[in-house]
């Protein structure tokens, strides 16, 4: 059984004051196996973010289903959704979304605190993660005292500390300089190597080239599914780049 199954997902936004409806997703289907690191690429307005929001149970599809471990997301009751997100999913955002009132340590522990875990358990989980993300020295600092890359590493730690089934990353390198971005992607690759399933929405070919698989989305539908199949990063980079060019050219032809 695939870990995540997306079936014929459609999302239609009806404008508030009449006008034509917007089809953000027009029937997206794919499956993810456990341990996959998948990038979703596409231009602005292609429907990437809508897809991610639906996967995160922040938004409801108009049609179609999302099955996580065989369970339908739309069946999770409203009042259990927060706990569901907290326990099954981890989030990494472009703007980090760290709370400036908390130290990095407390930011990382936040989901565990919300889940009501014991202090000892929290600290046991925190230490190895902080070590792997090279955050040990920074735990006592506040977000405004550290760099963007450090913030994003703390955000990764926050996403991973609940040991979620699936990590959803929305343009995680979007606000980082290239060195920090590279470091972050290596870390994501490292956690993927340890079996963590990751879905990452990105614009950046460099970011996508760290994934095992790239889904190209265009006009609300999957237009191509590119797998790495053992290629080196630089060769995968070229392949993605070519696929993108072809996709854009195709779009122009059609348009």
């Amino acid at each position: 059984m695939p870990m995540l199954e997306v079936r014929e997902l459609k999302k239609v936004y009806a404008p508030r004051f009449g006008g034509s409806k917007v089809h953000a997703l027009r029937g997206v289907s794919f499956t993810l196996e456990e341990g996959e690191f998948t990038a979703v690429m596409g231009e602005s307005g292609s429907g990437k973010t809508t897809l991610l929001n639906i996967l995160a149970a922040l938004d409801q599809p108009t049609e179609g289903q999302v099955l996580l471990d065989g369970g339908d997301l739309s069946r999770v009751r409203e009042r259990d959704l927060a706990a569901f997100r907290r326990e099954k999913l981890g989030f990494i955002f472009q703007e980090f979304n760290l709370l400036d009132t908390f130290s990095l340590k407390d930011n990382i522990l936040l989901p565990l605190v919300l889940a009501g875990r014991r202090v000892r358990e929290m600290e046991e989980r925190l230490l190895p993660l902080a070590r792997a993300l090279e955050l040990e020295e920074l735990l006592g600092k506040f977000p405004y005292e550290v760099s963007g890359g450090q913030k994003q590493r703390a955000a990764v730690a926050r996403a991973l500390i609940t040991q979620p089934r699936l990590v959803l990353a929305d343009e995680p390198t979007g606000a980082l300089d290239s060195r920090s971005a590279e470091q972050l992607l290596r870390l994501l690759g490292h956690f993927n190597g340890q079996g963590q399933t990751i879905v990452m929405v990105t614009h950046s070919i460099q970011a996508a080239s760290h994934a095992q698989r790239v889904l190209f989305i265009k006009d609300g539908a999957i237009s191509r599914d590119l797998r790495r199949e053992g290629r080196e990063e630089s060769r995968f980079y070229t392949a993605i780049s070519q696929a993108l060019t072809a996709l854009q050219a195709g779009g122009e032809n059609r348009g």
């Binding site: 922040l58 009042r79 959704l81 927060a82 706990a83 997100r85 907290r86 326990e87 999913l89 989030f91 955002f93 979304n97 760290l98 709370l99 400036d100 009132t101 908390f102 407390d106 522990l109 936040l110 989901p111 605190v113 919300l114 889940a115 009501g116 202090v119 929290m122 506040f142 405004y144 926050r158």
Partner: protein, 666 residues
């Protein structure tokens, strides 16, 4: 183009109405209050000149306080509003709006606010003028006979005064815009506040100041001391409140944070770190709220007690409708003959149309300044300026017995009442070189009513009952030392049995009658209870009115500060709660966490205010004794009652504010 700026200004106000409406309301309310005190302070509208004197000075004080309050508070809120807008102004500047254009926009905004605030305030003031005059008349126990016509001069003064304040605020605003570069403007509100350090020195200063203030409150042992030390104590307590809120609140929060099993719980986690994060600002805000709450409580409860207490004072001070008083020397060859004087008064009363006049009581006493020469030894100090002075009330046994209904054994001893007791075995009174010593008998249980209703001076007062002969003997001794005979005051209390309103005029004519043949005396005086009561009510109701008036105004300030504080924090927290929801915090937990924070913000200052109020209580009791009020139960009842009402109002504000906050973050 010419209409752009007025329109832009109007738009800005409408868009920021959550912030501007309360500000407008503040301008309006302070403006109305200022107009009212000015309009009520007009001699030509008041029929009775003696009462007017008190009222006028109260209203004058009121207009000063309200004026000062208006300057401080409007500048404070104005600054707060403009700080919020720094970013927006910076952005307009970057987008190409020149500083002149910004100034024009701000100018129009101020113009609109001024027109609406001052105009509305004057209208509200005029509308309330009738109610206030009626209330004042009711408090003063007199018919509403004076006019509530609007006062043009009060209107003009108010309009000019508030226009100047708003103009100054505008200039301050403009100066701030001019001083900054666009980039700085943009950055202004994004700077994070660092987690505050524990400040031991501040905590120590706060502790000393507050302890000092409280120690004064507990240590004061006389009304005179209370009067002198009241404002120093208030100052110390206010200083202490600010220091302690800043230092101690941080210490407490840090301790709570260190306790991991407390801190790492969903509801505590968010609130605690949030409060710690903005503690410095928070602390000043909380201290402001606390100080204002305390002011309202102290002012209203004090003036209410005074007002409620006046009723009880009058019959103690005037046991009869009319008091006849003379001064005489008990050692003179033909001393006062009380019975003869009473007969003359009865005859006089009959002649003036009061055939049913009836004597209801009498008293005799004298009071002199003495200096303590040793334990139980007092020397009269007529110079009146030495240190260590005591006020001695001397009265015959009979006066004590009649005015208290208690009895004294006829043992020839001095019976003494003093706060804190009198430990000595003998009492020695010295006049010049002469001295006389009395054994000290059983202490007196209380102070006679007519004496206790006088201005009460303090713990260094002695109330001494002596045998009648002893007073004559003292008088001789005093005369020998060159000070003259003892000036004993004698009072007779009468009910005339007529219309009390007629007494004042009638008593005016009394001294012209024949008063000869009643012995040697001077200073024959007649006073009627009705006139005293009216004057007394005028004094106390003026106080009370001002107390309610200023109390209401300070309450408004408190409410506004709380409201703004929560509103601003709500907007700051908006983003935070969005993040929290996205990482899996559910609404119920958010609600609980917000509730916890709000409860602390509201009720921590109130709790401290309650403690302040408790320590203020003994001090105010001394002050009230200056007005002849010392009824513990009345004072306690008034204070607790005012606190209760305040609590209700405060809880209502809490609910409203909490709702506004949820609406923002929810």
């Amino acid at each position: 183009m010419g209409k752009l700026y007025p329109r832009l200004a109007l738009q800005n106000i409408r868009r920021g109405r959550q912030f501007y409406l309360p500000y407008l309301f503040t301008v309006l309310a302070t403006c109305a209050a200022f107009y009212l005190v000015l309009a009520l302070n007009r001699p030509e509208l008041w029929p009775d000149s003696t009462r007017y004197v008190y009222l006028s000075s109260f209203m004058l004080i009121g207009s000063f306080v309200i004026g000062l309050f208006a300057v401080i508070f409007l500048t404070y809120t104005g600054r707060f509003l403009s700080k919020r807008r720094q970013r927006e102004l910076g952005l307009s500047n970057i987008l190409g709006m020149g500083k002149g254009h910004i100034a024009l926009t701000l100018g129009f905004e101020t113009l609109y606010l001024a027109l609406a605030g001052i105009g509305g305030g004057l209208l509200a003031g005029m509308a309330l003028q009738g109610v206030c005059t009626a209330l004042l008349c009711a408090l003063m126990d007199m018919p509403p006979i004076f006019s509530a016509a609007p006062s043009l001069s009060a209107m003009a003064t108010t309009a000019v005064f508030f226009a100047v304040i708003l103009l100054l605020n505008l200039l301050l605003d403009l100066a701030r815009v001019k001083l900054q570069k666009p980039v700085e403007l943009l950055r202004e509100s994004a700077v994070g506040e660092k987690e505050p350090k524990t400040r031991r020195l501040l905590a120590l200063v706060g502790l000393l100041a507050l302890g000092g203030g409280y120690a004064i409150a507990l240590g004061v042992a006389s009304a005179a001391d209370a009067l002198v030390l009241y404002f120093p104590a208030v100052f110390l307590v206010i200083l202490g409140t600010y220091c302690l809120f800043t230092a101690v609140s941080i210490v407490i929060l840090k301790l709570l944070k260190k306790n991991k099993s407390f801190y790492y719980r969903p509801t505590h986690f968010i609130g605690l770190s949030g409060m710690l994060y903005r503690m410095k600002r928070n602390a000043v805000g909380l201290a402001n709220i606390c100080v204002l709450c305390t002011m309202v409580l102290v002012m209203v409860s004090g003036t209410l007690t005074l007002y409620a207490g006046s009723e009880a004072l009058i019959p103690r001070r005037y046991p009869g409708e009319v008091t006849v008083s003379v001064t005489y020397d008990p050692a003179s060859e033909t001393p006062l003959d009380p019975d003869a004087l009473d007969a003359r008064f009865a005859a006089c009363a009959q002649r003036w149309g009061y055939p049913n006049a009836r004597k209801v009581g009498q008293a005799a006493y004298t009071s002199l300044w003495f200096v303590k020469d040793g334990d139980g030894v007092f020397r009269e100090d007529a110079t009146g300026s030495g240190q260590n002075r005591s006020y001695l009330y001397l009265m015959p046994y009979e006066t004590y017995e009649e005015r208290t209904g208690l009895s004294i054994p006829r043992d020839g001893a001095a019976h003494i009442y003093r706060d804190g007791g009198f430990a000595e075995k003998t009492l020695t009174l010295r006049f010049g070189d002469g001295a006389v010593e009395y054994p000290v008998g059983e202490p007196l249980e209380t102070i006679p009513d007519v004496i206790s209703a006088l201005l009460y001076v303090g713990s260094e007062d002695y109330y001494i009952a002596l045998p009648g002969e002893a007073l004559a003997q003292l008088s001789q001794l005093r005369a020998q030392s060159g000070l003259g005979g003892l000036p004993l005051n004698w009072y007779a209390y009468w009910d005339l049995g007529g219309d009390p309103a007629s007494y004042a005029t009638a008593l005016h004519a009394f001294p012209a009658s024949d008063w000869s043949g009643a012995g040697q005396f001077d200073g024959l005086t007649f006073r009627d209870r009705e006139s005293f009561a009216q004057e007394y009510y005028a004094l106390n109701s003026g106080f009370f009115f001002l107390g309610i008036f200023l109390g209401g105004l300070f309450l408004l300030a408190t409410v506004l500060i709380i409201y703004y504080k929560q509103l601003v924090e709500g907007y700051e927290d908006q983003a935070r709660y969005r993040i929290l929801r996205s990482v899996g915090m559910d609404r119920a937990t958010i609600r609980r966490s917000v509730d916890g924070q709000l409860l602390v913000v509201f009720f921590a200052p109130l709790l401290v205010s309650a403690v302040h109020l408790a320590f203020n209580f003994p001090l105010v009791r001394w002050l009230l004794s200056l007005f002849g009020v010392y009824d513990l139960w009345l004072e306690l009842g008034c204070t607790l009652g005012v606190f209760g009402v305040f609590l209700l109002l405060y809880a209502a504000v809490y609910r409203l504010t909490a709702r506004a906050y949820y609406k923002i973050v929810g």
